[in-house]
Amino acid sequence: MDKKKFSSYGIQDKMLLLTGYTLLGLFVLAIVIPVIYIIVASFIDPVTLQNKGITFDFSKWTLTAYERVATNAQIWIGFKNAVVYSIVFTVVSVGITLLCAYPMSRVDFRGRKFFNVIFMITMFFGGGLVPTYLLIGNLGLLDSMWAVILPGAFSVWNMTIARTYYRGIPAELREAADVDGADELVYYFKILLPVCTPIIAVLALWQFVAMWNSYFDAMIYLNSSAKQPLQLVLRAILIQSKPEPGMVSDIQSTAQRAQLAELLKYATIIISSLPLLVMYPFFQKYFDSGIMAGSVKG
């Protein structure tokens, strides 16, 4: 369709477009302004920030917050743990999910309907918090990384998506492999998986981001501070307003310490959010195709 000039619209259409675009513009501003505010505020001297808010008088700007956050050990421990948990979780979860989806995608697979029911039930019904917690305790997994990783590693929803994807692969590929006498494993790893990279990338990204952003399981299962992932460290600083002791302990006055704690929040937000935000443009095309995979039913 050719581009249409605004003046060529009817009066009703003009009103509609104006209202719509105004709302859209307000929405965009509601996102952009807070983001800019946080970035700028993270550089402002704590006293000025509390009394006047942000300022573009650069004599009031300081790197203090970044120095204090970046030199704090707990933040880096949190980062390291988050990276480890997210990578291990992604590998385990996507691996198991992709494997399971293969027999479930095959029409000839005996027991498919039975297993499907077993899996589907868990999407609607579950034991709930306490029974799961007691199980983790009985398995001796409390305060272990695996308590955070294993219970949610197999995702029925992702399995259905992978299964749908497998089914879209032309049957000729498989027939060709059968002629060659390739067994299941060879066919699966050498022929099927290589043509499934888009869906593998999508599932991996979903799982990585989900683990990176979660805090509940870590909060209930991991007690030692050496095992805490980033989000738990952030929770103490941002939600409970309890900055890591080393960040503010050199300040004597309570009021000043509170002001500093407030400032540290801004720098913490920037430092902790940067990795995913930087990663995002590189993976955008996968995310987009993943959204489509999630919108069709399995």
Binding site: Q12, I31, I38, G126, V130, L134, S214, S295
Partner: protein, 316 residues
């Protein structure tokens, strides 16, 4: 007659054993499918999903961790009665339902509207930039989002600086739901619009041209071209979200709770957590959780049925 029916049932018997034999042969030939491909997922499911389902029994016991499930005393439905008859019950249930129903009613249309608006933008460059901004909040974590909300709404925060007031929003039960839902839209609406935008881009070119040539106005174009292109996805998304009404997330609600806004922020999932893992009332907490799950299953099935009726017999 008699002999005929016996021979039929014998035939059935026969075909059943043959079927069973065939299955055995199949499993033997394809053992890899079961052991290598299926088993890891099946094992995780049985251990981490089905064993806890058995653990639900403690909701009907006075569970004592030292005695275990086998030796704890059975108390029937008394924990359910205690919960259902407590004055808190209605308030937690209402908080949960209001939060998710209002969240759905306010939040669901926004991505659809955003997609319609984005679809009307003719300059590709501007559209890309707007989308970049709209998607951005999706990439911050729940904790960071709640941290931002708390900073902006704090007594000394920018909103109060702007208004010249000293309102502590986070301690107002009346403001809590609005904060939760609005911040959810702020974070998720842009990202939620992607699939609608993609579906709109795939709308039939012929229809578009025809509508254009007929001089249809925008509302008519939406009705004839754009709405049909996304209707199916909208319906599916609505079912999925409506079905999750009782399983509204713990993480964000808990992160936005303060002692003073509990009157509206205490929902069933946060209550289950506090009762179970903080106060150690294992049985009571499990009973409350089970109650929640059962309602959720009923909701899911009913929503699916309603949609199936509206959608000419096609549910999920």
């Amino acid at each position: 007659m008699m002999s005929n029916s016996t021979s039929v049932s014998a035939g059935k018997q026969d075909s059943k054993t043959r079927e069973f034999h065939n299955s055995l042969v199949y499993v033997k030939q394809h053992w890899q499918l079961y052991v290598i491909f299926l088993l890891p997922a099946l094992a995780l499911t049985l251990i981490f999903k089905y064993i806890p389902m058995g653990g639900i029994l403690i909701a009907f016991q006075e569970y004592n961790p030292f005695k275990g499930i086998l030796k704890s005393k059975w108390v029937g439905f008394s924990y359910f009665q205690r919960f259902l008859s407590s004055p808190d019950f209605l308030s937690y249930l209402a908080n949960t339902l209001k939060l998710s129903v209002f969240g759905l009613l306010w939040g669901f249309p926004v991505p659809v509207i955003l997609a319609f608006l984005l679809n009307r933008i003719q300059s590709k460059g501007i559209k890309k930039k707007i989308q970049l901004a709209l998607y951005l909040p999706n990439f911050i974590s729940v904790i960071v989002l709640c941290g931002i909300v708390k900073i902006f709404l704090s007594v000394t925060g920018p909103i109060n600086l702007l208004l010249g007031s000293q309102i502590n929003f986070m301690t107002m039960p009346g403001a809590w739901r609005t904060i939760y839902i609005a911040s959810g839209i702020w974070q998720g609406a842009g990202w939620g619009s992607i699939m609608y935008t993609a579906a709109l881009a795939n709308a039939s070119q012929d229809l578009k041209e025809a509508a254009y040539l007929d001089g249809a106005n925008i509302l008519q174009q939406i009705k004839v071209v754009e709405w049909p292109a996304i209707k199916d996805i909208v319906v599916i998304q609505f079912i999925l979200q409506a079905g999750n009404i009782m399983s509204i997330g713990f993480e964000k609600a808990y992160a936005l709770q303060t002692d003073l806004n509990l009157a509206s922020s205490e929902i069933i999932s946060t209550y289950v957590y506090k009762q179970g893992l903080i106060s150690g009332n294992f049985s009571f907490s499990t009973a409350v959780g089970l109650f929640n799950t059962v309602i959720n299953v009923i909701l899911l099935l009913s929503v699916n049925k309603i949609v199936a009726k509206m959608n000419e017999g096609q549910g999920l």
